[in-house]
């Protein structure tokens, strides 16, 4: 289990240091600093030196590090680190060196609370916020009552939600955001070498009482079984979703979801925490719909020039549009200058600091097509090296589109008082450094 927990800044100075067990000394921090922080070759988040393993996560130039001497579950340790980062973000708004330094007392309180003798404990933000507060004063008279309530909640069946009567909203609303990050690697001929979607469903629930929610997706397993189980025309829903059901590779749920039910009939039912939370995460690898097509033509003319012809096509419906499209086209390392011409929209320029041509398009309507042509001038080099031709990288966002084809079929809310609730669903697909094409 986790024996020590550290936060380092960029230079390797220790900001937070907590030893959960006695099998390490504080000097173990130096080992990490020397072996990882000051060693530019280390890219792996997990380093094992002798019998000691360092797990680290970099966030905003901070290293969040967990150290263990045992054969701990690496996924669990990383989950713990990310959870800690989320808690910090929720407490301080952002997580960087300054906020850690300014709030180090709270950080220590949190670090002590979410882990005991190396074993992760309750890390539900809502619960934590009830007793680790940033405001200072809680009046003495209230204290016993409050604390008993906290105890009840923290140890109760739904530790993530305050008891029914405390939560009241005038307007009962639930927002569901389906966010997908699409990763794609295309060959020079345009065929797909690798494509997958990382998705998560973010939910904001402003629902009174203790609502019981049921959530339905066009998950292929559910749909297919539905089609088999309910025969005849009565199964309208199944018909509707059957055509484009989605195969989800693996799903992870928030702790509020009843996994027993999910295992039994893949139904997603839960009592949501109050406020924002991540309901589920999933991955899809088959039948990925690519929102953008990139057709590159790059030719090296002798040794002194390279000509580029890049065409960008959208494949989604004209009602939608891609925003914040950024295309990064690598240039050879010995480029001196680039002349760029654009057919369509956007702006492009050569950025020598990164050795790329950056082409930015603010908005690209569905079905639209635009292209760029450029000519890079090269200088002669001492040692003739073949250009490695790194792939072209495209970043974008498309609203109301899911690359996996996932659709939220329903979200039902049941509550004792039987109030009416409003549900909102939003979809977003984006590419973030993982949408690449070779040329």
């Amino acid at each position: 289990m986790i024996s020590a927990f550290f936060i380092f800044n960029q230079k390797g100075e220790v900001l937070i240091s907590r030893l959960y067990r006695t099998d390490f000394k504080r000097s173990i921090a130096d080992v990490f600093r020397i072996q990882v922080v000051s060693n530019p070759d280390v890219r792996s988040p997990l380093i094992t030196l002798g019998s000691t393993s360092f797990f680290h996560v970099r966030v905003n130039n901070l290293y969040v590090v967990a150290v263990t001497k045992t054969n701990a579950n690496a996924a669990l340790v990383f989950e713990f680190c990310y959870r800690f980062i989320n808690i910090c973000k929720s407490y301080f708004g952002k997580m960087d060196e300054e906020s850690i330094k300014n709030n180090f007392v709270v950080v220590y309180e949190l670090v002590d609370e979410i882990n005991d003798f190396g074993y992760p404990q309750n890390s539900e933000i809502d619960t934590l916020k009830t007793y680790i507060t940033t405001e200072s004063v809680v009046s003495a008279t209230q204290a016993p009552e409050v604390s008993s309530r906290i105890t009840a909640q923290a140890t109760g069946a739904t530790s993530w939600r305050r008891s029914g009567d405390d939560v009241k909203y005038k307007k009962n609303e639930a927002f569901v955001d389906v966010v997908e990050v699409v990763n794609w690697m295309g060959s020079a001929k345009g065929t797909t070498l690798r494509a997958d979607v990382d998705g998560h469903i973010q939910m904001r629930a402003y629902l009174s009482g203790t609502p019981e929610c049921k959530f339905g997706l066009n998950d292929k397993l559910v749909i297919d079984r539905g089609a088999v189980g309910t025969s005849g025309p009565s199964s309208g829903l199944a018909d509707r979703g059957g055509g484009d059901a989605v195969e989800l590779d693996d799903c992870q749920f928030h702790q509020c979801v009843r996994l027993n039910d999910f295992d039994a009939d893949r139904s997603i039912s839960f009592i949501p925490p109050d406020g924002e939370f991540e309901l589920m995460r999933y991955r899809a690898t088959s039948n990925i719909k690519l929102p953008l097509k990139v057709i590159p033509t790059v030719t090296e003319i002798g040794t002194t020039k390279v000509s580029y012809d890049i065409t960008l096509k959208t494949t989604f419906s004209p009602k939608l549009s891609a925003t914040n499209v950024v295309v990064r086209i690598p240039t050879p390392l010995n480029t001196t200058d680039v002349d760029v011409g654009i057919l369509g929209t956007g702006k492009a320029k050569y950025v020598p600091a990164e050795n790329v041509i950056v082409w930015k398009i603010a908005r690209l309507q569905g079905g639209q097509e635009c292209s760029l042509s450029a000519m890079a001038q090269l200088t002669s080099t001492t040692t003739r090296q073949v250009w490695a031709r790194p792939p072209i990288d495209v970043d974008f966002q498309v609203l109301m589109f899911t690359a996996s084809g996932l659709i939220v079929r329903f979200l039902k809310v049941f509550e004792k008082s039987n109030y009416h609730s409003i549900k909102w669903v939003r979809y977003l697909t984006k590419a973030n450094g993982g949408y690449q094409v070779r040329f």
Binding site: L333, N334, T336, D337, P352, N355, T381
Partner: protein, 931 residues
């Protein structure tokens, strides 16, 4: 033009200011793109080029790959401005490796700078060569560097750099530098007034002399002279005194250089050296309180002691040194202890008698427990070197005791040394076996294979030892844990000789078997297979335990290891054969003794010592080891000479068969050896005339040209002679770096030495005298050669024969007519007679030039005997040749000229045929030439 480059400063500041590595990379990418653009566009002025190249250099230093700017750097080198040139050179030395193609472009610029008049440019070029000089560059530029080194117009600092550059080139590409050819010129620089130059040149000479001992022999005198001037005459500028020690670095180098050469025979040099060493030792008799002063003194002192030991281990100096060393090894300073022990090991390795060292044996043994491991190592080396038959038991015992606590890094070496010493100085075989077995059980893992091989060899070859060895091994094996090496020794010895002890109580076959087999399960496969062989031997000699043994073979037939399995199967089959079968007996016959062979241990020990840049002049071990080594070194040296010679001669790699090339090698070797040893004689009609004249007169002019005149005066008494050489400077400038040396072909027959160190400067229009001591040891035929070299504008070398011939050592004998003929007959004809008939020229009057004949014969130191031959024209002479080794040799002569035939008959008879022939040749030569 700005002196500072703002762009560069800004660039560096930006990079320093980058918080994250990625930002730094971005900044550099941006800058490099900018530079690429600028270079591509062209039209840059010098300043811009310099700035951008400087930025490229900085980027490169940070560890980024750089692939532009090389061309610009090359261009910068040819810029006339210093700052631009400097950056250009910096870029070349940093960005290019020695095989880079770009260096070809630079060679010409560098050459131009080397030739230039600006010293700073010279230095930049020298730096560049010293930093990147590849073989191509070395070939192209070594000549120029050399020229810069020897040029009289070069500044001191240029000379220094040139010397060091040459040294670097030589170390890297020794074949590029014609070391022998340049020898005299380079050595002459050791006389430079600037001590800095001398230090640099001495470093160069040291490196060259190591490989070209002979060519650089003159440096010996120079080094002695310089030491004399530094130490005795205190002739140095104040800047070179380091804590009141005159240039310790130079002293150390000179002393080290002297150690490369065999000790000089010249008494003058010896006495000067003695004085120098004595003074050095006196100077450091009392340690100073200043640490730096102490360091400097010790540096010189230790090198001086090294030299003293090298020169003569019996001299009183060495005794003084031994006393000093004894003080050092108990010093508080670790470094001093270290050096003390090291030098003592040198002494032990060379000295005839180890007595003075043995007095300090206990201190040395204590040093084994020093807190510093290097000191412990040196103590071990010293003990190893000083061990002899008397103290071997004590030292080996001490080493064994220490082995248990010794540092792991030290153990393997210790084990080897103990094993060698034990074998070398064993007083009794029992002691040897005891010690080695103790060694094996104590050191365990650190015992190399060679050690136990050797034990087995010795036990097998020594019959008396076998029973005892078997017993002792058995006892050692009784210990609960035995090391694998011990099991191996045990397996072998008990298998061979176990039957010798089997009848004694406690050593029964069964017990032997149990004790050995109980160890086998902890051993590796190789050891186990050895044990299997032991068992089959036992099957032969101990039939009573055969069932157990066969059971083991049976079991081992199924192990996975193929070697074990095969052995087991074969042995099993062998053991299963019927009783009366003799095969088993024949197979298991006792091992024959090993052919005597040298111990593999020594080879192992020597292999461990890698060669270093600055060669040691001795190795650890006793005197014998050093003598051996000296011999092999000579041999390899000669071989090396031979092989280079064959390379030169063949030119291209030969593809002849091996025998052919070997034959060729030998022949060439002799040629080259001769030509390289004998200086080339100066020629000229006058030189020969002067020489001929001096053959039969005691004084006169030997040589004269526009710059110098050399005259001689000589005196001979018996086998001893004195020759005064007068060298006159005829030009109005001083002749500097003056070197006179005498080359003798056969030093066993004739010794020629200078009475004192020759001076190295001759003032304008003055004369200097040098006295030579000559001793004739045996009959000789070639006259010695005097080589005179000096600097007068350029470097000049002249070699002249000295008129020292055999007949100079004759002394008159008075003989009557009867006596003469008696002896004449006694000696008899050939081969002890040498006769020749040759034409003579008549004088102007048409008469025989009798007076000349008389003069020549008398000049050759024969006593002219009148009234012996009735013909007055005939000359008769007699003399006795004095030699120190061969004693006296009588010599008789008859000269019979014939006026009508214009011929002359010369007959020389001597008790030694060589002498007769030689004297006849000399006389004939003198008689036939006009003087």
């Amino acid at each position: 033009m700005a002196t500072t480059m703002r762009g560069l400063t800004q660039f560096i500041a930006d990079i320093r200011g980058a918080r994250v590595r990625e930002l730094e990379e971005k900044r550099i990418n941006k800058e490099m793109a900018n530079i690429r653009k600028k270079f591509k566009d062209g039209n840059l002025d010098g300043y811009q080029k310099k700035k951008y190249v400087a930025k490229i250099i900085f980027t490169y230093i940070l560890g980024y790959k750089v692939d532009v700017g090389h061309m610009e750097a090359v261009n910068l080198i040819s810029s006339p401005k210093y700052s631009e040139k400097q950056i250009g050179y910096l870029a070349v030395t940093l960005l290019m490796h020695e095989n880079s193609d770009f260096l070809r472009l630079v060679v010409n610029s560098i050459r131009k700078d080397l030739h230039g008049n600006n010293e700073i440019d010279n230095c930049l070029a020298l730096h560049a060569i010293a930093n990147v000089g590849g073989s191509e560059m070395a070939e192209a530029l070594a000549e120029d560097v050399h020229r810069l080194l020897i040029s009289p117009t070069s500044e001191s600092f240029v000379k220094k750099k040139a010397a060091l550059t040459l040294l670097r080139l030589y170390r890297k590409h020794p074949d590029v530098i014609p070391a022998a050819e340049w020898a005299l010129r380079i050595i002459s620089l050791m006389d430079d007034e600037d001590l800095g130059v001398v230090i640099c040149v001495t470093s160069l000479v040291m490196a060259l002399a190591q490989d070209h001992l002979h060519a650089y022999a003159v440096s010996y005198t120079k080094a002695v002279d310089r030491l004399n001037r530094l130490v005795i005459e205190h002739e140095y500028s104040a800047t070179y005194a380091y804590y009141r020690v005159p240039s310790p670095w130079l002293q150390v180098k000179l002393l080290r250089l002297l150690q490369y050469y065999p000790p000089s025979e010249d008494p003058a040099i010896r006495s000067v050296l003695h004085q120098v060493l004595q003074t050095t030792m006196d100077n450091s008799a009392e340690p100073s309180r200043n640490v730096q002063h102490n360091n400097a003194q010790h540096a010189v002192l230790f090198e001086a002691i090294g030299l003293a030991i090298h020169l003569d281990t019996n001299s009183p100096l060495v005794n003084t040194a031994a006393v000093l060393l004894a003080r050092f090894i108990s010093s508080k300073e670790t470094n001093v202890r270290y050096l003390g022990l090291d030098t003592m090991a040198h002494l032990a390795a060379r000295a005839e008698s180890l007595e003075p060292l043995k007095k300090h044996q206990s201190t040395i043994i204590l040093s084994l427990r020093d807190k510093d491991i290097s000191v412990r190592r040196r103590a071990l080396d010293l003990l190893y070197s000083m061990c002899d038959i008397d103290n071997s038991e004590l030292i080996v015992g001490e080493l064994l005791r220490y082995l248990r606590v010794a540092d792991y890094a030290l153990r393997e070496e210790m084990v080897l040394k103990i094993a060698i010493l034990t074998e070398k100085y064993a007083t009794s075989y029992k002691w040897y076996v005891d010690t080695i077995l103790r060694l094996i059980s104590a050191a365990g893992d650190h015992v190399g294979e060679e050690v136990w091989y050797r034990v087995v060899q010795i036990v097998t070859n020594t019959e008396d030892l076998q029973e005892y060895a078997a017993k002792v091994v058995f006892e050692h094996l009784k210990a609960p844990t035995a090391h694998e090496s011990l099991v191996k020794v045990g397996g072998y010895i008990l298998g061979e000789y176990g039957h010798l002890i089997a009848n004694e109580p406690g050593y029964s076959p069964l017990e032997q078997f149990h004790i050995l087999h109980s160890k086998s399960q902890f051993c590796m496969a190789a050891t186990r297979s050895l044990l299997l062989s032991t068992y089959i031997k036992w099957v032969n000699v101990f039939p009573e335990i055969k069932p157990q043994l066969v059971l083991i073979f049976e079991r081992y037939r199924h192990v996975l290891d193929s070697e074990l399995q095969q052995r087991a199967s074969e042995f099993y089959a062998l053991a299963q054969r019927p009783e009366e079968d003799e095969l088993l007996q024949n197979v298991c016959e006792e091992m024959p003794p090993f052919p005597p062979r040298s111990s593999a241990l020594l080879g192992r020990l020597n292999k461990d010592q890698g060669d270093t840049e600055d060669k040691r002049t001795w190795i650890h071990g006793g005197k014998d080891a050093n003598v051996d080594r000296e011999l092999t070194r000579r041999k390899t040296l000669i071989q090396a000479n031979g092989s280079t010679a064959s390379h030169i001669a063949i030119g291209a790699p030969s593809t002849q068969d091996v025998m052919g090339s070997l034959v060729g090698l030998d022949l060439r070797h002799t040629e080259v050896a001769n030509s390289s040893e004998r200086p080339n004689l100066a020629v000229g009609p006058n030189i020969d005339r002067w020489y001929e004249k001096l053959m039969f007169s005691s004084e006169g002019v030997l040589f004269e040209d526009v710059q110098i005149q050399i005259g001689i005066k000589s005196r001979y008494q018996g086998h001893i002679g004195q020759l005064a050489i007068y060298i006159g400077n005829k030009v109005p400038t001083p002749l500097t770096s003056f070197i006179t040396a005498v080359h003798v072909d056969d030093p066993d027959a004739l010794s020629v030495t200078f009475a004192k160190l020759p001076p190295n400067v001759i003032a304008p229009r003055t004369q200097t005298q040098q006295l030579l001591h000559i001793e004739c040891k045996k009959a000789f035929s070639t006259p010695p050669i005097l080589t005179v070299s000096f600097l007068a504008g350029s470097h000049q070398t002249t070699s002249i024969r000295l008129p020292i011939v055999l007949t100079k050592f004759l002394e008159h004998v008075k003989l009557g007519q009867a006596d003469f003929f008696e002896r004449w007959k006694l000696i008899g004809g050939a081969p002890r007679e040498s006769q020749s008939i040759f034409p003579v020229t008549l004088n102007n009057a048409g008469q025989l030039d009798l007076s000349k004949f008389r003069q020549v014969v008398a000049g050759h130191k024969f006593n002219l005997l009148d009234d012996i031959d009735p013909n007055p024209n005939n000359l008769v002479g007699a003399g006795v040749l004095h030699t120190s080794v061969e004693g006296k040799v009588g010599c008789l002569l008859r000269l019979e000229p014939n006026k009508e035939a214009k011929l002359c008959r010369l007959t020389v008879r001597s008790t030694s045929e060589n002498v007769a022939k030689e004297a006849q040749k000399l006389l004939q030569k003198s008689l036939t030439t006009d003087t």
